[in-house]
Symmetry: C2
Subunit: 379 residues, 2 copies
């Protein structure tokens, strides 16, 4: 029997954590008390198994419990999988999902990122250095102003320009107008530079309108989108990635309650790392440590490893640290994350001192001073 | 300008909370620092406004901040709305969304529950008392055994029998076999009793398979489904409710990280009350206080008020307290929740002492002893 193995940090000493482990094993599979009358096959094949209960290293009074679940209970589907590993117990307290081991039969059911790091690099024709990304904002500015930001960023040599996730369109026509203008501005700049800057429009819409927006963006020449899976559905992202082979950039909006309580929830590494890669994100945005959000360095490194490390046949995804990154942050970010990273610089790049084009160039020069860039013909 | 008004409990005294309030107002709308160069129209119409900063009653060192946002920024869509009121700030700490006031122009964009409490009562032909619901389990039992539970519950006079959210089917055929058998068992029982017990199959599937499963269930004679919006998409639930006019029962699986940290996240009342009603749930399941989960009585009452109270043109939804309810809990639950409630009894009703039919009858007798039941012809 192939199993999904999961580690949870629980706020109980090992002596008490054993009973809790059994409770979780029953709650997450049959949702019945341990003493319920259960057929033997259900007890053997359906109820989760407790594999280990250990003291949590460096956390007195806490334990790590390891459970395994029949992979069949995931249905090899994302929604059912999340129900299995963190459905009902999410409503408890003091149970944090900290690690997962997924068998091949499960991983094989997911194509993962359509392009992955190497595919995105090929589209851009950029090797040897981190990529530079920015966001088009603010909401409320005329479409031409927004398109001008996109165009200037591309002229300055930037790699990925995405819509701000806060951009809202009053109608489908407004969406089309805005996306067409931004894509046109980037295409014009690309024609000048010979490069292949990517424009990724935000697609946040009613479920029944999502695919038409994606199709429109692709028709205009965009190669991907920005998507908020915690708003619009994690499995919706997987579906769009698999169906349209998009360059998929995921945004963590509305995901944060999973992290704020360090004794509960799901680690950033699993949620914004493993899960985003499984669901087809080529680039996963997350708040960098030291910025205006509260992730730790260790959490960011764990997240990056989960996106980039070997994992079945899944292509690696780019980590994209963001959230208040400044010009002065680049040296340390370069050291922390290395070349296979997308630096997402918002406000600092759109600042008032310089044009976006000049600012982009300055950021890129800073990146190039630390890495050996190789430009190839964009694919 | 119509606005969405939101209250947040923040872990800062009022003197510091003012700056935090302004930060949230900018972060959630333009995601730029306060001193960014912004056109006047963006400052006036797009940036959130700070309406009040007050000490949090009974919580020294904490404050309640009230912000208002141009309703246009919600796009009158669920996903964009959630991004607006709790998108990026979800990734902060110590900012809890505790109340919302939504203007008519926003509410009008949502049909809400297709049936509501009165509609569900008409289908059942039951007035004057709480409804009784149970779950079909465990996963791994033969389909005939599961169907037998459904049939016995209907014979015993129960109102709503739903699949356990943990039921997983190895194939679309297996789903169809199981749902057809359960619906048939309930239909047979209904033919005998002259009543109209509802069977609600769980629909958790890949996004591209969801509608086919719903259509199949309806073809078999089911009138609704059980759905997990935090697994399968909140807007997906709204879409299914609006398109198929289902009796929609929502399950809170994977929602719990929003609640565990009492200083952060979103209150159960907003997430499992207001939001579920907005997204079309006729019945919203939540963990009752005093059971094996950790909601407080106050949270459960707030949640119930949000589901049942007057709210624009939205039909009221049933609160469905669950999670370890026993026979002995019924008197106090009846007092706490009153007649417009769906009592969801799982394990206790499926216990080993009695048949499901007898157990159902015993629970109903207990309910009838406290309320004045009126049976009408089911619609």
């Amino acid at each position: 029997m192939e199993t999904i193995s999961a580690d949870y940090l629980v706020s109980r000493p090992p002596a008490e954590a054993k009973a809790l482990a059994r409770y979780v094993a029953y709650e997450q599979t049959v949702e019945l008390p341990e003493d319920a009358a259960l057929p033997q096959n259900v007890r053997d094949e359906i109820v989760g198994q407790v594999d280990a209960v250990e003291p949590a290293p460096g956390q007195p009074g806490a334990s790590v419990i390891t459970l395994s679940f029949n992979v069949r209970l995931s249905g090899l589907r994302l929604a059912q999988f999340l129900n299995l590993v963190y459905g009902n117990i999410s409503i408890q307290k003091g149970i944090r999902l900290i690690d997962l081991r997924l068998p091949d039969s499960f991983l094989k059911a997911f194509p993962g990122p359509a392009h992955g790091m190497q595919g995105v690099r090929k589209i851009l024709g950029v090797e040897g250095r981190p990529l530079l990304a920015t966001a088009i904002k603010p909401m409320g500015a005329p479409h031409k102003v927004l398109a001008d930001i996109a165009g200037q960023f591309a002229l300055g040599g930037g790699d990925i320009v995405k819509d701000d996730q806060n951009l809202v369109d009053d109608s489908e026509d407004a969406f089309r107008d805005r996306v067409a203008l931004c894509q046109e501005a980037v295409a014009k700049a690309n024609a000048k530079t010979g490069r292949s800057t990517l424009y990724l429009p935000i697609v946040t819409a009613r479920q029944e309108d999502v695919e038409a927006r994606v199709a429109f963006a692709l028709e205009q020449g965009a190669r991907g989108i920005l998507f908020c899976p915690f708003l619009s559905g994690i499995d919706a992202m997987r579906h769009l990635s698999a169906k349209y082979k998009l360059v998929m950039m995921s945004h963590p909006s509305f995901s944060g309650a999973f992290f704020s309580d360090s004794r509960h929830g799901v680690t950033p590494g699993i949620l914004l790392g493993s899960l985003m890669r499984l669901a087809g994100a080529d680039v996963s945005i997350f708040p960098n440590f030291g910025g205006r959000f509260s992730f730790t360095r260790e959490e960011c490194m764990d997240l990056s490893r989960r996106l980039r490390g070997p994992w079945g046949r899944l292509k690696p995804s780019f980590p994209s640290p963001a959230g208040g990154m400044r010009f002065e942050s680049l040296p340390s970010m370069s050291e922390d994350y290395g070349e296979d990273t997308v630096f997402l610089i918002g406000g600092a790049l759109l600042g008032k001192e310089r044009t976006v084009e000049k600012s982009t160039r300055a950021f890129l020069d800073q990146i190039r001073s630390r890495f050996q860039e190789t430009l190839c013909k964009p694919a």
